[in-house]
């Protein structure tokens, strides 16, 4: 088992009477690219703020790289790079000066390293420009640069592609994958871009109303949901009627010659046989591929399901 680099144990936070995060326990292992998902107001940002020590939890523990964020903040943050919500910089300083200031707080690094990072995020030619003239996308890139500056073991990214153009989003996705694959940096990624998370993350956690409602490997979570099959038949109404009589099978929809059912995989052939024996022509059986977006919406609409 890989080392746990980020862990929350029964983390909870109330803002007055509202419970923002409720007994949240999650684990991120070394080498993971962990997607942290949830609808607006689910508690993602509050969780990230507790992970980075910006907000004090009412209960529970948050640990980064084995150190309690509250009691050993300096040790916990020493090898961590983070963007919490929209990155903010000193507008009256240049990009290079900003990175120099933030790097010194993490022990410092030379100008070559700063330029290397600026080059990585495509801002080297704007290094001496004051941040006040930067666009939102450029500030976002500079935010990623400052997170990578201290050669972190763990990077916490809160909506890192927000405000970026499609090329910028692609660049960031590729950068995240490169960080994980080549530099072995663990990434904790909070994002609304579900297709983005699906492309880069190996594990995800889904939070809703402050509670973790699903956690696991992306492939594993999606495999659980691969029990929806669509039959293409000549008479969908009759097909739905026949299939509806079978145990362990649930008709989900019936329209335009297609009947969608939820069924364990081993019952699909039996369902097909039943339809054929009932005199129906089955022209196609298509497993409905659920993507992360479908899964996310399903989980959130169901109001939560422990995995």
């Amino acid at each position: 088992m890989s080392e746990v680099v980020l862990e929350t144990i029964k983390l909870a936070k109330n803002f007055r009477t509202r419970r923002a995060v409720d007994d949240l326990s999650l684990r991120v292992y070394e080498g993971d690219v962990y997607g942290f998902l949830g609808p607006n107001g689910a508690g993602k940002s509050t969780t990230i703020r507790m992970l980075t020590g910006l907000v004090r939890p009412n209960r529970g523990t948050a640990r980064l790289l084995g150190f309690d964020v509250r009691t050993r903040h300096m040790d916990a943050m020493r090898n961590v790079g983070a963007i919490v919500e929209t990155p903010a910089f000193y507008k009256y300083l240049s990009a290079r000066e900003n990175l120099s200031i933030f790097s010194r707080l993490s022990g410092g690094c030379d100008r070559r390293r700063i330029d290397q990072i600026l080059d990585t995020v495509g801002l080297l030619d704007r290094a001496n420009d004051k941040v006040k003239v930067f666009s939102h996308g450029m500030i976002q890139r500079l935010g990623i640069a400052q997170a990578l500056l201290p050669n972190p073991k763990l990077v916490i990214l809160d909506e890192p592609t927000s405000g970026l153009d499609p090329q910028g989003m692609k660049d960031v996705r590729e950068l995240i994958l490169r960080l994980a694959n080549e530099e072995k940096i663990t990434v904790f990624l909070s994002s609304h871009m579900l297709h983005e998370v699906e492309q880069v993350c190996n594990r995800v956690g889904v939070i809703n109303r402050g509670k973790l409602i699903a956690e696991g490997e992306v492939k594993e979570l999606l495999r659980h949901e691969l029990d929806i099959v669509e039959f293409t038949v000549d008479d969908s109404t009759r097909a739905a009627d026949i299939l509806g009589r079978l145990d362990s099978l649930k008709v989900l929809s019936c329209e335009d010659g297609r009947v969608a059912v939820q069924s364990p995989a081993e019952l699909i052939s039996e369902a097909n046989r039943t339809l054929v024996m009932g005199g129906l022509a089955v022209s196609a059986i298509v497993p409905k591929m659920m993507n992360l977006e479908d899964l996310f919406l399903k989980l959130v609409q169901e109001g939560g399901r422990a995995d």
């Binding site: 910006l54 004090r56 300096m74 943050m77 983070a82 903010a88 910089f89 507008k91 009256y92 993490s106």
Partner: protein
Amino acid sequence: MLTDLRLELRKAVRKSRMYIGPTAMSLLILAVAVGLKHSNPFEYLRRRMEQDFIVTGSFINAAFLCRHLLEGITYTFLPLFACMVCGDLIASEAADGTIRMLLCRPITRAQVVISKYVVACMYVLALSIGTGVLAYVMGTAFLGRGSLVLFSGGIWVLPETTAIVRLAAAYALVAAGMLAVGSISFAVSTFLSNSNGAIGAAMGILYGSAVIQEIEYFKVLKPYLLTTHLDIWHRLFVGPFDGHAFLKAILVMLVYSAASFAAGLIIFRRRDVLS
């Protein structure tokens, strides 16, 4: 800690807000010096003195400028500019969101507060003492040097050297007072994301305290009010020297500064950063 302080200084010297106070004070001193040189508002005093004394030279000189400038700025420009910077150091970082970026680094909140407070102290002391030095230099350039003549329950004449020493002490006392006012602004800024609020609160406390000290009902509070002691520097120039009164005033101003700093530190260490 030194690294944090260096970084805070590096940021501070690049902020335009830091230069508003010194620029305004320089212009004010220049205007007063030029005004005194080209119009003599105290000519009637000179004529009255000449009825009983032989007056040589002008009592409107650098020492006179320094002394009378202090009268005008102790409750106005100096506290305003002190609060403007002290109340901005943390509040502006909270408003801009850079405080998030800072606190996500391996740095404690105490380090952030201490380094910013040291910068605030340096600024207030430099502004107060610098104003005195600049007033003397400009006064010398425009009005010349000489003894300090004061009219306060009589005529007091302090030789030039004595006047310089007393003026230096007066500006130092006012600097201590401004440090207390700036510290209040700093403390308020630790829980606000708006420097204007911190400036307003500190100036409000200053003027509120000045009003309270004049109300008979609150006379029991008077020894502990900051404004009671802000004018202690007057006693350096007239009347017998009362060391106990000066020590008490310095102590009260230091207690205000220390208590404000401690409050700011405690608040900032406990607050949730939500900006």
